[in-house]
Amino acid sequence: MFQGLNFEPVVLPETADALRKEVRAFLDEETGWFPNSDFNTGASAEFSQRLAKRGWVGMTWPKKYGGSERSFLERYVVTEELLAAGAPVAAHWIADRQSGPLLLKFGTEEQRQRFLPPITRGESFFSIGMSEPDTGSDLASIRTSAVKVDGGWLVNGSKIWTSGAHLNHYMVALVRTEPASENRHAGMSQLLIGFDDPNVTVRGIKNLAGESDFNQVFFDDVLVPDDQVIGEPGNGWVQVISELGYERSGPERFLSSFLVIQELLREVGSNPTDEQAALIGKLVAELVTLRRMSISVAGMLEEGKAPNTEAALIKELGNTFERIVPEIVRPVLPQDASAHFLATLNDAILHAPSFTLRGGTREILRGVIARGLGLR
């Protein structure tokens, strides 16, 4: 039997039901956004702050850093409810999912005390700074450099596709602190860079849907103090890899087009044709299976495991699903589909190309899975 193909069933904790109801009640009070289940789409600092007030940002973290010490599976419930409702989660998403856990794992005590509480209050938002103009999938080829100077590091170079850079407070940037050598994965470090630094420039880039979600960021002699290095200088690659289980296995990897399915149900009503019913059945069966696989991985993360192959499998299957939903729904639409439905559908069509790119392309994920199979 292969490692990584078995997703042991995990049951959500007893507290999940009550928590789910609380989140739904909270969402019932929230209005003013066009729902979109894509986690990249829709950022509202105010929404994130109200969510944080309920203790749902950084909810798994220790109380001494402002967290609620809830379980990873409880966090799962909150995140899937937010995505299914199409809430504007982009502002706090990365800090909550990734940057905070990174600091908990590799940060100093001083860094945790300084950066984590503001995140849990919904006042501090983070971006991921990995991609560069000449670096996409081949992450080890980054060129943004940080040179040691008195008291810190002098950063020069540029990051691109940085989601939320125009709204957020910090970037966790992967930079070269030593020139590239034979060992391609050596000599990289993670730095916390404030977007308020005058030597940092952010230029918005419009995506296919016309939104300004991502940016190019330029560093021009940016001085990053020593206490904003995360973990050991030179250990950047290992640290980046350790984030992948969190980054790739969550509900955001298969729910991005959820609202298309929900609104399709509204269109066809209680009396669908058999063809429409079969398609809906196929989509729901896939959704239920993916969700259960994803919950299995949340259970593994809770146990402190590093299920990287499993996470890649979920992302590959999940992205394929969310990308194909708007395509296969089109042919079964009723003739008189409503304007609301078409808006939801077009929104999904315009965002779909990003699903199999962001967070590791489909081809890269297949490579990770192939490694898990022992092929490479």
């Binding site: 669908p272 239920v288 081809e363 899975i369 192939a370 092929l375």
Partner: protein, 344 residues
């Protein structure tokens, strides 16, 4: 995983690797029942692992039976272990106090029991009927459901085989049944049988898919072309990665069934449609990666892929179960869709 489950898997796999070799599987295609395999599994309490003791079972849970059935499918075991499970579960469902034991199968077709207990009707695709001792037949009597048990020798049997080369015989019945072999049943008997059948086929497909993946991955590591193993080609890696995704989803979908105490319709529908949908694409990858040798009866990949093509059609193919799910979800309605999904 429960300790009992682990133990069941271990024992079953040991017996199967000894007694369910590719040679044994091929021999059944030329008409020879795998008697020793059947008897050994039976002696070890595995044939009816999940049935209560008064029906000759080992007193385990339904999931135990499904676990054994899945292991058997990994080895392409050409025995009616799924059919015996279905028959015994039907006996359990109708409150029977005993089960005939031996080699048993189920016939799903149009059967009518008259007032004077004459059973008439016909069924196609009766798995392994020619080798069975007894056949369990869901029938109707004046609109009500009854479960009848008949001797194999009492029915008229036409031998047929499936695309996998396994017996799928046609039987015709016209005989008076002993009252002791008739059980009054809840009206949903036929439907219950269909759900049990779809459950077995789902776990069987997940097992065969997993073992097909193992075979093909192994092959890709050893087969050399252009001076290296073909597993080094990215085109091959990506095909196998895609297959692995389908297999992983199928295993997870089938695992949900092993946790049930009853064949819950919607759960069966999710599993049968999700796993059934994986068979075509996975068989395609498996055969492509294996080249010409995979396209022979000499290589035992055929034991897996041919069974996948058979099982995906049995007890409702994916399209039929998808329709059922879809109609159910449309009754649920757009606003309740998410709450429903999240409750599953």
């Amino acid at each position: 995983m429960r300790e009992e489950t682990r133990l069941i898997i271990e024992t079953t796999n040991r017996i199967l690797s000894d007694l369910c070799t590719p040679g044994v599987v091929d021999a059944t295609e030329s008409g020879q029942f795998a008697t020793q395999l059947w008897q050994t599994l039976n002696e070890n309490g595995l044939i009816l692992a999940g049935l209560p003791e008064h029906l000759g079972g080992a007193g385990g849970e339904m999931g135990d039976s499904l676990t054994v059935i899945r292991c058997a499918a990994r080895f392409a075991a050409p025995i009616p272990i799924a059919e015996t499970f279905i028959a015994a579960s039907l006996a359990n469902f109708v409150g029977a106090t005993s089960f005939s034991g031996g080699v048993v199968t189920v016939a799903n077709g149009e059967f009518e029991l008259s007032e004077n207990n004459t059973l008439t009707g016909k069924a196609n695709n009766v798995a392994f009927a020619r080798w069975a001792d007894r056949i369990y037949i869901p029938a109707k009597q004046q609109g009500a459901s009854v479960l009848c048990v008949v001797d194999r020798d009492a029915v008229e049997l036409t031998e047929q085989v499936s695309i996998a080369g396994e017996p799928r015989d046609t039987i015709e019945v016209n005989l008076v049944i002993d009252a002791a072999d008739i059980y009054q049943a809840p009206s949903e008997l036929q439907d219950y049988a269909r759900r049990l059948g779809a459950m077995t086929r789902s776990v069987m497909m997940s097992g065969a898919l997993e073992s097909a993946l193992e075979l093909v991955v192994d092959y890709s590591l050893t087969r050399q072309q252009f001076g290296r193993s073909i597993s080094k080609f990215q085109a091959i890696q990506h095909q196998l990665a895609t297959m692995a995704g389908e297999v992983a989803a199928s295993i997870r979908a089938a695992d949900s069934l092993a946790q049930l105490q009853q064949p819950v319709e919607l759960e069966v529908a999710f599993a049968k449609s999700r796993v059934g949908q994986a068979c075509g694409p996975c068989a395609e990858v498996a055969h492509q990666v294996m080249g010409a040798i995979g396209y022979t009866l000499e290589h035992h990949l055929n034991h897996r892929t041919r069974r996948l093509w058979c099982w995906r059609e049995e007890y409702g193919n994916e399209r039929q179960w998808q329709e059922l799910i879809g109609h159910e979800m449309c009754r649920t309605g757009a606003d309740e869709l998410w709450p429903r999904v999240a409750s599953l």
